[in-house]
Symmetry: C2
Subunit: 365 residues, 2 copies
């Protein structure tokens, strides 16, 4: 295959290894594995999970649930505070598959009591420290109130407590990740202890990729829902959640101009290909991706002095150390590991595995 | 139309007014108007320009040129350093339409001399201070070299010097924009003076939206290529390039959760809808969009204490001042003006003008 424009390359072998490793970890810890499919958004990659025995999944929108339901996924959790405006689509889905929704306030439950036509599973979204969505774990009076309502809702089966420790993404060290995970675990466990008498089957669901990759204590947890691990990226590598050898995606981008006078290389590959997530580089500046070059058949990751430093709509700017400038020439293709693979994969319409194209036809989520 | 998920609303009246105003400005200054179509990426919106007499356009990729050529645009400048890897596509386009390419180094010209099959126009990309791409305006020896090569290239017609003053986007005040524009103008003018004897028809092309909106001195400039002005956005409003009444786009997003305890509102609308461009808010933090509410039939822009403060894949977080919290309820739809409309429009697959859907079927650029 000849690459002539920004192209998302996927190493299937690495991807399958990541899937197998996480399946193994879930199995070893007797956890239900409900992978988040928002990272890849691809029916074909979904099938790689299915071939390995995965039967239940997580998505982040009603549209994404419809998309995967169309490929016979019949047990789906929409891990997003229920959007009651999509009640028609929710009813349609619930009439066909086992659908789990997230609620975190009375208004949503009252609305669902009125307009839900088919049974669904309900998770209470718990905030164990990320402070984005959910009921703070300590507010048991609020949880009590919602559970009273749920008891009175024949179409809503209370499944348990679900959290997402997105704060692990801001961790400075691996120890921060252990601490966040452990603290979250304690909070969830105390909820389980408080409510298990009345709800003996309630489950605890957690699942950010950093914790699921690094931590090994999942006592009392019943289900994990990581997503990013399927590809990993620079952010995960920096967090210590993966090594370079675990990263399954690369953006291949043509070099269109070299500016030795300011140690910069211009690539065709911008915000419409990478999106604009970044991590802070060693120089304190935003790093949007790291650069891989090939030398004598070997793959080399350039150090952080050479990196994707800026993105406008179609342009990417590589800051390149004088020593590395020799590797760049107009008309060449360079490979970049994106800072955040989820958003890059969302923008690109297809993956290339060697010469094979894998469609990713998800309608916008 | 019932809005149930993130939806990009377009006010056609405002959009047409923006187009008419810029056409008027170009006419008053006797400038060729070659609008950049990367902002809207829509054949239909392109036709609104055509109905008003526009015949030549700017795009930012070969794919985008193919897309608009398919709708009978026959005079297109690809304002991106020529990507020689797409030579086949370039030849195909050049066989059918008047195509202008940007070059900034010898390698590209040498390559085109060898592989170009049809005539194209060539602009030398000049860097007048943005420091992203182009030949620094003062390096006339480099320009001389390239012009010698172009003289020897029967299929390449030298058209002139083209610049993009993207540095206006970092301006702190309107005066900065005047200064940047004026400095750029001086540099371009001195190039024209230097080369016009030998190339009497050479043209000067410029065109960032801030300069084109604010400045009135275009002496010696021949062509402008603004793009964003068609919609404008929060960034342009902050720069003083437009007023609230000139902004033609809104993202309508469902509210899914309200957290009064931390003055936050969660919306369905994230990085996959807005992309992740931001400006610095008055509190020093990233602002991804500003909030419009409707009160007694009137549209009100909330002040900067209430704003779109954070984006993850599908979630948006509004920081909302205690006073404004009353306006937000789960199941409501709020309107957000994006920080940067180009990237938001790129992500959304369609525009809604009242109940009318306008497709935007551009393949990924």
């Amino acid at each position: 295959m000849k690459i002539v424009r920004p192209t998302l390359l996927l190493d299937k072998e690495i991807c399958l290894r990541n899937i197998d490793r996480m399946i193994g970890k879930a199995r070893a810890n007797r956890l239900t594995f409900r992978p988040h499919f928002k990272t890849h958004q691809s029916l074909e990659i979904g099938r790689w999970f299915r071939e390995r025995g995965v039967t239940c999944i997580t998505v982040s929108s009603v549209r994404m649930a419809q998309y995967f339901a169309s490929d016979n996924w019949t047990d789906i959790t929409i891990a997003f505070p229920v959007n009651i405006l999509e009640i028609d689509e929710i009813n349609q889905l619930a009439s066909k598959i086992k659908l789990n929704l997230l609620v975190e306030n009375k208004e949503s439950i009252t609305f669902l009591q009125k307009f839900l036509r088919y049974p669904v599973g309900i998770f209470l979204k718990i905030d164990t420290g990320y402070n984005r969505t959910g009921i703070p774990a300590g507010r048991t009076s609020q949880i009590d109130q919602l559970l009273v309502l749920l008891k009175d809702s024949p179409l809503m089966e209370f499944k348990g407590f679900l959290t997402h420790n997105g704060q692990t993404y801001h961790a400075k060290t691996i120890h921060d990740i252990y601490n966040i995970h452990f603290e979250s675990l304690l909070k969830l466990r105390s909820l389980k202890n408080r409510y298990k008498k009345e709800w003996p089957n309630l489950i605890l669901s957690t699942g950010d990729t950093p914790s699921c990759s690094i931590c090994s204590d999942f006592t009392d947890i019943d289900e994990i829902r990581p997503g990013n691990f399927v590809f990993y990226d620079v952010m995960q590598m920096k967090l210590g959640a993966c090594s370079l050898q675990d990263i399954a995606v690369r953006m291949a981008c043509p070099v269109v101009s070299v500016h030795p006078s300011r140690n910069e290389v211009v690539i065709y590959g911008g915000a419409v290909h990478f999106s604009k997530d970044w991590i802070t580089n060693i120089d304190g500046k935003p790093l949007y991706g790291r650069i891989i070059i090939r030398k004598e058949g070997k793959e080399i990751l350039l150090d952080e002095k050479s990196y994707l430093s800026s993105l406008s709509q179609e342009h990417g700017i590589l800051k390149v150390s004088p020593r590395d400038l020799q590797y760049f020439k107009s008309g060449q293709v360079v490979e970049i590991i994106p800072a955040h693979s989820c958003l890059t994969a969302n923008l690109m319409k297809e993956y290339y595995c060697d010469a094979l194209k894998i469609a990713k036809s998800m309608p916008i989520s």
